[in-house]
Amino acid sequence: MFLFPFLFAALHAESDRELAERLKKRDHQAMADLYDKYGRLTYVLIHRIVRNVGVAEDLVQETFLRVWNRVQAFDHEKGALGPWVMTVARNRAIDYLRSVDGRMSQNAFELETSESPALFANLETEVLNSDRARRLKAAFEKLTVNQRLCIELAYYEGLSQSEMSERMKQPLGTIKTWVRTALKALRDELGEGAV
């Protein structure tokens, strides 16, 4: 089963702007609402990355705790809460994978930077939309096997293009072509209106 129903539910829930504002006021109920809105999306994402129920539970807890502790730096007027929460969740899981296989220090700074709340300012606040998610999934399924693998290695294993090149035993130039072509197809499917 895909996650469209949960995205649909998220879309019809309270706006992220109001939710973020309540979180910044340390409203515990807002945290419950945040979990109800994004808990499943984050769990499924983290579970896909770490493939272990117990670890996924720990990392979901860590994700929401991190959001709670850092939400003061989040601009609720201009920021997109969903993409930020999802990025924090992915980073926790990728950080875990890296720590397990000894890749932990190389890109630690980049991961930390990539979830800075300031980065998520000036995005449409209700950015996640089930219709666009359906279209993106259809576009993803049209990618070639190698392009799909590159996307999965990037998003769900946190590999850089040179690491993909080693893993897939393909020249770096070939990997870059596959990654760029795949990302362009996905980006084009979402269109300019997604931002």
């Binding site: 993409p83 720590s99 980049e110 993803f140 997604a194």
Partner: protein
């Protein structure tokens, strides 16, 4: 490079996986406020958020909501849970005492001096505690470990920063998944990023062959 040529890299930048050599030019465009690149980065964040929703749904533990809310103090503490947790801790202590009974004097003294040492650090994780000491090693107290299965056991790993996991011994748990294990060897704490536990063949492994069930960052 032109903005158009850089455009394909923004998703990777936002994921924190762009190779360092490729990052410099993007940083340069962004730092001088290039509007085309700033817009491309925003778009990349959105694309990334959607790609993160692609994995198929999986059953979700119902108890997780309560646990997440408890972590910020939003759920009233469940005293029955604390009672059971305390029982598990006491069971762990008794197990530890039993484990050390075959050579009580030396092992008990080793544990007590380990725990009392001023330079012993304690890290709490959801299933227990890890104590680390640069000269004495690692002491693991864990509960609710999943059963390893026939012919399997648990293996402790010391993971250095940027290095491979190093085997730190095999251990068992009781029927309830409680375990106490002490790895007696010096540990370079400045260079150690984490300790982990994985399920391995009873003879042990030189590198983890399964996804670790416990990872504790130091």
């Amino acid at each position: 490079m032109t903005c158009e040529e850089l455009r394909g890299d923004y998703e990777l930048l936002a994921l924190g996986i762009l190779d360092r050599s490729e990052r410099a030019e993007l940083d340069e465009h962004l730092s001088r406020g290039c509007s085309e690149c700033t817009s491309a980065l925003r778009r990349a964040l959105v694309t990334n958020a959607y790609v993160m929703t692609l994995p198929p749904d999986v059953p979700m533990p119902r108890s997780l909501r309560k646990r997440v809310l408890a972590s910020i103090g939003a759920e009233r503490r469940n005293w029955r849970w604390i009672f059971y947790a305390w029982g598990a801790v006491m069971a762990g202590v008794l197990l530890a005492l039993g484990w050390f009974s075959f050579d009580q004097r030396s092992n008990t003294q080793a544990v007590v001096s380990f725990l009392n040492a001023s330079d012993t650090r304690q890290i709490v994780f959801p299933q227990g505690r890890v104590f680390v000491n640069a000269t004495r090693g690692v002491l693991l107290l864990a509960s609710n470990l999943p059963r390893p299965g026939a012919g399997k056991t648990y293996e402790l790993w010391v993971i250095s920063k940027g290095g491979a996991p190093k085997p730190a011994g095999l251990f068992d748990a009781d029927a309830q998944g409680n375990a106490v294990y002490m790895y007696k060897a010096p540990v370079d704490l400045a260079q150690t990023g984490a300790v982990a536990v994985s399920v391995e063949p009873a003879s042990g492994s030189q590198a983890p062959t399964t996804t670790p069930i416990v990872v504790v960052h130091l």
